[in-house]
């Protein structure tokens, strides 16, 4: 299953190759042109049926949050730093895969019996954590692992509950999976599917991809925070799981193009697809750099809600995922229709 393969592939920002290779394999038969740019973005073109030169860009990022090797202890443990935004508290007592060879390792913590009572109340800092790969000493560890090796969460794709899945990196392999589907259809306009790198460290890949494509409009397909869990008040729910794809109004990096956002919302309503607005203004995504490219590009964001995002156990509803996929398709079909009508006039 593609979503399983995509989420179990490791692609910490700056190291997206495993994910890129899967995507290339999936889209190769469908595109007129596939290029990989100097940063590692995939820019796939599905040529339009008309020569009007109109370009629509879909964007989903391939990278995920993770860790990177920064050193070794004399006794052969690995020191690391986070890549992207990670709450250090979720790292304790977790399994990881180190480097290209996916070497299993664990982030341990000294036993509860050895802790002082006040120690137990404090969050463990990343600088005090380390990864155990079973190395005998520093030399032994250095034979298997190098400085700068990327480290991903070790977490399998697992369906559970009421049509939910647990996996790592649903943010944004869910978006990647949707773009892979979208590129299979042909429209009147040129459709560019951009699978971007380095979103989690500052929206780096999308910036250059959008510059290359220079689209007339863009839609970012994301996995976004879903905070409908105990501890959060209802008005603090950014999105609610199972209430359909979420449409952004604004966040820290952009205002969504109002017409496009309203269009997405009304298309969903007209077609009986559950839909919600993302209710918080925190965070940001590739739309932040895409909409400021060149002379400015009308851009909107649609997201699949993910609970426990940026952890090894993010959770999404398959219903939301399917709804998101349908809505992106309806969006493209709507644009297709209006562009054709414009031409006929």
């Amino acid at each position: 299953m593609l979503l399983k393969e995509l989420t179990e592939a490791n692609g910490v920002s700056g190291n997206e190759k495993e994910v890129r290779d899967i995507i290339l394999r999936e889209i190769s038969g469908y595109c007129e042109k596939i290029s990989i740019d100097r940063m590692g973005n995939i820019i796939a073109l599905r040529k339009g049926t008309s020569d009007n030169g109109k370009k629509v860009m879909l964007s989903a990022h391939m990278d995920e949050v993770g860790l990177i090797v920064t050193g070794f202890t004399d006794t052969g443990f690995i020191k690391f730093k986070p890549v992207g935004g990670i709450d250090p508290r979720i790292l304790v007592s977790k399994k990881v895969l180190v480097g290209k060879q996916r070497l299993p390792g664990v982030i341990g913590l000294k036993a509860i019996h050895l802790q002082e009572p006040n120690e137990r109340k404090q969050a463990v800092k990343i600088k005090n954590m380390y990864i155990d790969i079973g190395a005998k000493n520093k030399e032994d560890a250095e034979k298997k692992v190098s400085l700068g090796d990327y480290i991903a969460f070790d977490s399998c794709y697992m369906p559970f509950g009421n049509n939910l899945v647990k996996a790592k990196a649903l943010d944004d392999r869910a978006g990647c999976a949707i773009l892979i589907e979208m590129i299979k259809e042909r429209y009147s306009f040129d459709l560019y599917a951009c699978f971007t790198v380095q979103e989690e460290v500052g929206l780096r890949g999308a910036k250059v991809a959008a510059y290359t494509v220079q689209p007339d409009m863009a839609l970012v397909v994301e996995g976004t925070t879903c905070s409908d869990v105990p501890g959060a008040k209802e008005h603090e729910y950014a999105t609610t799981l199972g209430d359909g794809p979420a449409i952004s109004i604004m966040d820290r990096t952009s205002y969504s193009n109002k017409e496009l956002s309203r269009l997405l919302y009304s298309l969903a309503k007209e077609n009986n697809i559950k839909v919600q607005y993302k209710k918080t203004t925190l965070g940001g995504n590739d739309a932040g750099v895409i909409h400021l490219t060149g002379k400015g590009i009308p851009t909107a964001t649609i997201s699949v809600p993910c609970r426990y995002i940026h952890s090894p156990v993010s959770v999404m509803s398959m219903e939301d995922f399917e709804g998101c996929k349908k809505l992106v398709k309806l969006f493209l079909e709507y644009i297709n229709k209006t562009k054709q009508e414009e031409e006929n006039e």
């Binding site: 508290r89 390792g105 664990v106 404090q122 969050a123 905070s227 959770v315």
Partner: protein
């Protein structure tokens, strides 16, 4: 039998204190390969007896506990999230983003979550999240959850065993399934050899909540020598060196009031004689293991304690070196082979 594989199976099995029955058949089966009889007592302990050819001889009891720490359902909220409490010593700091199995009418997969980080104040995010502020998400609505899950249901961690480098393994309940494998290693070593004592292999229950299985099984067996096999703290960068032992350097043999002084000397001399690596540990009082209960059973039992160094005890990634298990099994076997004739001299003060 591949004991390394068996350890993986045992560690992946679920058996929180008081609920060990879920996998007792696996242990029974493993004991049966080497024992003349195997039975389960009223408390749930599994006892395998390996009789020797001699009539009326000494009884040596080997005990390792089969239970593990875990969690228990406390409440279900009106959106289906489950609040919980701990069974045994659980550090709340290991719980966030952990995978669990809720053992309701069906086994339900779940995830431990809490207030999302972006909603927390800077002050809050520096603190460990307390168990009372966490909840398990089984991905179903409240009606369904309440149908399948009851207050008091058991919750176990889901953390399949990983193989690390150099024969290191990492899993959720090597404390003390590793001890059970040591006993099996010992029985394997004793297979087809003539020994002078009867060996009682015991997988005890409810150690984590008060050494309860050891209390009744020792009373029941009435051994002449009781040996507990448990885990001790393995060396790691964040743990005080004086509280830990090296992994991969052999079993740790405890000395102190819990331990019979002559027997432990014999254990050391056997290890030296057969070149089995070992480490010494001094415990001035309660060892916190089955050995503590065994020693004061009936009129008193000469007791020993062997431990396997284990990193990150009571987490979901407990890590050990399998060579330590093999060496512990060997040491036990050679010790037992050398219990010959009249042992009164050895056991008296």
């Amino acid at each position: 039998m591949n004991t390394r594989e068996l350890l993986t199976i045992l560690s992946n099995s679920t058996g929180v204190s008081g609920h060990e029955y879920a996998f007792s058949s696996v242990i029974k089966q493993a004991f049966e390969e080497f024992c003349t009889s195997v039975y389960q007592d009223a408390t749930g302990n599994i006892i395998g007896i390996r009789k020797c050819k001699k009539e009326k001889t000494y009884k040596v009891m080997l005990a390792a506990h089969m239970d593990e720490i875990g969690l228990m359902v406390k409440d279900i909220d009106d959106r289906g999230f489950i609040s919980f409490t701990n069974i045994g010593g659980v550090d709340s700091r290991i719980l966030l983003a952990q995978e669990v199995i809720v053992h309701g009418k069906e086994d339900l997969f779940g995830i431990i979550g809490a207030k999302p980080p972006h909603l927390q104040t800077e002050e809050e995010s520096k603190k460990a999240v307390e168990i009372k502020d966490m909840a398990i998400d089984v991905g179903m609505d409240a009606k369904k959850v309440k149908e399948l899950v009851s207050i008091g249901d058991i919750i176990t961690f889901r953390s399949p065993t990983s193989c690390l480098l150099n024969n290191y393994l990492s899993g959720k309940s090597f404390d003390d399934r590793a001890g059970i494998i040591c006993i099996i290693e010992c029985l394997k070593e004793l297979k087809n050899t003539d020994i002078d004592v009867d060996v009682y292999a015991v997988a005890t229950v409810q150690e984590e909540v008060g050494l309860r299985g050891a209390i009744v099984s020792t009373y029941n067996i009435e051994p002449d020598i009781g040996i507990a096999i448990d885990v001790c703290h393995g060396e790691t960068p964040d743990a005080p060196k004086e509280d830990t032992h090296s992994t991969g350097k052999g079993p740790v043999v405890t000395i102190g009031p819990n331990i019979h002084p002559k027997l432990v000397k014999k254990m050391f001399s056997i290890a030296d004689e057969y070149n089995i690596p070992y480490q010494k540990d001094v415990e001035p009082g309660n060892t916190g293991t089955d050995a503590w209960a065994i020693q004061v059973t009936r009129s008193g039992i000469p007791t020993l304690l062997l431990s396997i160094p284990l990193r990150y005890m009571h987490t979901t990634v407990e890590t050990l070196n399998f060579n330590d298990i093999v060496n512990t099994g060997k040491l036990l076997a050679f010790f037992i082979k050398n219990l010959k004739g009249d042992l009164e001299e050895l056991l008296c003060y």
